[in-house]
């Protein structure tokens, strides 16, 4: 089990962090998706193709590396379809498609993945149905979705790809709590769809999404804690820095304990995804159950400890708070991860 970053991973972290600090500072996050930044992120750093296998033009890295990148895009509250595209890439590593993987690796294609399966009708060439909430659905170019297998036989599910700019597709951007990353309602009416294949049994796509999201949450958690720790060192009340009051200090110490544990779990779950598939389901459910909660709790307390200024629109605190809440429920009500754990533990 590997819970400590390698030197290469530390370099990756510094590279992504440095890039985002310059190109996507927090004050830009509330302006929303900047395609230019996104293009540079993929062009200069090759982030989009990080986990795309080398044969498709990617870097062939594992989830442990992707987790490092997602922690940084999370900390920066990076707007746009990066997480959605990585969700799609994680599915495509199980159901490979040369065109899409190549497009993602080159940074040409922004994609999104519908998960879990929704009510779609598929006739073999086109899909029909309404997807009420698609992550980055307004920004992505391609939609991947599980659909009922139209081939005669025992049924089952295939993964299909839909061109979101193509015919039969209506996208309605939604107002979302999270101001830094959108969702859209996508209505498909006989939208042309291409079958990519049938996800192998136990492919663990859903588990990998859990781990990837937890990595982003770890970044949101860490950035929230960093922000309030920094503020506690410069804000004065009653003649003392607020960080010198145990009422603040002890809360921050508890938040640090959550960070340490969250990081440990994310490293473990990413390692399991890459190296120990048998452990992945339990590690993935653990990651969402622990990190999702810890991230929101820390983002909440970081906002509250700012005092009145944290409640203002102009301050960044609420951006973290809202992302943390949106992420906590992104893959479903959090109890589903606990229920999964109960099942896996054979309780």
């Amino acid at each position: 089990m590997k819970l400590v970053l390698s030197q290469e991973q530390q370099q990756l972290r510094e590279a992504v962090r440095g890039f985002l600090r310059a190109a996507a500072p927090l004050r830009k996050a509330r302006e929303g998706y900047d395609p230019q930044v996104y293009a540079r992120l993929n062009g200069e750093l090759g982030l989009s193709g990080l986990i795309v296998p080398e044969e498709y033009g990617g870097a062939g890295a594992g989830l442990a590396d992707l987790a490092v990148a997602l922690e940084e895009t999370g900390a920066a509250l990076l707007p746009g379809p990066f997480l959605a595209t990585q969700f799609a890439a994680l599915a495509l590593t199980q159901v490979p498609d040369k065109e899409l993987l190549g497009g993602i690796a080159e940074g040409r294609v922004a994609a999104t993945l519908v998960q879990p399966e929704q009510d779609l009708a598929f006739d073999g060439t086109s899909v029909t149905g309404t997807l009420p909430r698609v992550l980055s659905g307004a920004e992505a170019g391609v939609l991947l979705a599980p659909a009922p297998d139209p081939a005669p036989g025992p049924g089952g599910v295939v993964l299909v790809a839909v061109d979101l700019a193509g015919p039969g597709v209506t996208r309605t951007p939604l107002e979302t709590l999270d101001l830094t990353r959108g969702q859209a309602r996508v209505t498909l009416e006989h939208a042309p769809a291409r079958v990519l294949g049938r996800p192998p049994a136990g492919s663990g796509i859903g588990d990998r999404l859990c781990v990837a999201l937890a990595a982003e949450q770890l970044g949101v958690l860490r950035a929230s804690l960093d922000a309030i720790v920094a503020y506690a060192k410069i804000r004065v009340a009653f003649g003392r820095y607020i960080g010198s009051y145990q009422g603040v200090k002890h809360k921050l110490a508890d938040m640090h304990g959550k960070l340490e544990q969250a990081e440990s779990i994310v490293r473990y779950a990413a390692w399991a995804a890459d190296e120990s598939p048998g452990e992945l389901p339990g590690a993935a459910a653990l990651a969402q159950a622990y990190v999702g909660r810890a991230c929101f709790e820390v983002a909440r307390d970081h906002l509250l400890l700012h005092g009145g200024i944290g409640f203002t629109w102009e301050h960044d605190a609420h951006l973290f708070y809202k992302r943390a809440k949106a992420d906590e429920v992104l893959l479903g009500p959090p109890r589903i991860h606990r229920a999964r754990l109960a099942e896996l533990l054979e309780l």
Binding site: P132, R133, L174, E175, T176, L177, D178, Q183, Y231, I234, R235, V236, A237, F238, G239, R240, Y241, Y245, G247, V248, F296, R300, L303, L304, G307, G308, I309, G310, F311, T312, W313, E314, H315, A317, H318, Y321, K322, K325, A326, E328, V329, L330, L331, G332, P333, P334, R335, R338, A339
Partner: protein
């Protein structure tokens, strides 16, 4: 007239006079002022205030009787709440006779709107560390600085302003209280949006605003003792409101969630039970405080415990509701999206949770105070606000 009769008359007046229609819209302020004038003329504004300055000179009993009847109505008096709850009582307690004569009756009659100007960006919980300066120039004072978290300031005619008049003395001893004309050209009112996107508050900027010395309230450099009077009235009007109403339209309450959630899942059921337990525990505590108050036991700082618990419950239930509801709760115009955005407000307005815990620890439990350095250092040598 005995109390029961008073109450019946009040009920009747309210039924006949409170506008039932929507009280928002462009002419809301004009209509609110019109209602306030009628309320005053009927004898229900300033019920316990001295007759000499325009009040009714009655007792808490009549006030409570009227309040009990008014609870069934929505009175369009929000814009007057600062004046009626805070600045007016301060002037009655601490103003000169000339100030009382000039300001109290128009305030009670709704002819003039008031705001309160204490908080500053650099002085949150620690109000006395404020930095807005008032410098004397003959018979007038010249004010420069910034205030924040000001309700109804965009409608206000007058503001009760706390400003620093001496930086050579410790912070509490160099403050003076003034009445400031909000129509002065040096006053700029800017709306302040909260994290939900609402603009319920304002920022106020003072740029060489002049105030005649006759509008000073209390002695020069004794403004803190006047502010304590105001804050006491504020606390009374907040604690009177704690636990009452406010939850009716909240989509995160137990009552709302039991309608929207699938309770077949035992875990969902148990979480709702937890919410029920916490809700009932606080509701019963508030009811006990109310019964004690009626029995003549003043709750004092114990109201801060109730406020703290309400802040925690508000945060807990919005958080729980989104978790139980899942992805749709944070997308589109789902009501929980707004609830989770507003939930922190209860922990931040009227004193943070940490300040509430200090009050309960110090004043209810009688614990030793934190050692204080900031009470003896001259203000100019004191660290304040946000440094570096």
């Amino acid at each position: 007239m005995d109390l029961a009769e008073y109450r019946r008359a009040a009920a009747e007046w309210l039924r006949d006079n409170v506008p039932a229609d929507d009280q928002s819209g462009a002419d809301a302020l004009a209509r609110a002022k019109e209602f306030m004038a009628r309320l005053y003329d009927a004898g229900y504004s300033g019920i316990t205030w001295p007759r000499q300055w325009g009040g009714q000179g009655l007792t808490q009993a009549e006030e409570r009787a009227f309040a009990a009847e008014a609870r069934d109505h929505t009175l369009p008096t929000y814009v007057f709440s600062i004046g009626l709850g805070m600045t007016g009582p301060t002037l009655v307690d601490r103003g000169t006779d000339a100030q009382r004569e000039r300001f109290v009756r128009p305030l009670l009659r709704g002819e003039e709107v008031w705001c309160q100007l204490f908080s500053e960006p650099g002085a949150g919980s620690d109000v006395a560390s404020l930095q807005t300066r008032a410098v004397r120039d003959g018979d007038t004072w010249v004010v420069n600085g910034q205030k924040v978290w000001t309700s109804v300031a965009h409608h206000a005619d007058w503001g009760l302003l706390l400003a620093r008049t001496d930086v050579e003395v410790p912070k509490h001893r160099g403050l003076t209280m003034f009445v400031v004309d909000m129509h002065h050209p040096g006053v700029t009112v800017r709306p302040l949006k909260d994290m939900s996107g609402r603009a319920n508050f304002n920022e106020i900027f003072f740029d060489n605003v002049t105030i005649p010395d006759e509008h000073r309230v209390g002695e020069v450099d004794d403004g803190w003792s006047v502010a304590v009077t105001t804050l006491l009235h504020e606390r009374l009007s907040i604690s009177a409101g704690v636990g009452m109403g406010g939850q009716k339209d909240n989509p995160a309450t137990f009552e709302a969630l039991r309608e929207t959630l699938d309770t077949d899942d035992p875990l969902v059921r148990d979480q709702l039970v937890e919410l029920h337990i916490r809700t009932r525990a606080l509701a019963l505590f508030n009811q006990r405080l109310a019964q004690e108050t009626r029995a003549g036991i003043f709750p004092g700082a114990r109201g801060s415990a109730a406020k703290l618990l309400l802040a925690e419950l508000t945060m807990f239930q919005a958080d729980l509701a989104t978790r139980l509801t899942g992805p749709e709760s944070v997308v589109g115009d789902h009501p929980l999206s707004r609830a989770i955005s507003l939930a922190p407000g209860m922990s931040l307005g009227g004193g943070t949770n940490e300040i509430m815990r200090n009050i309960v620890g110090d004043r209810v439990l009688g614990l030793p105070p934190e050692p204080r350095m900031d009470k003896t250092v001259p203000f100019k040598d004191l660290k304040v606000g946000t440094q570096g």
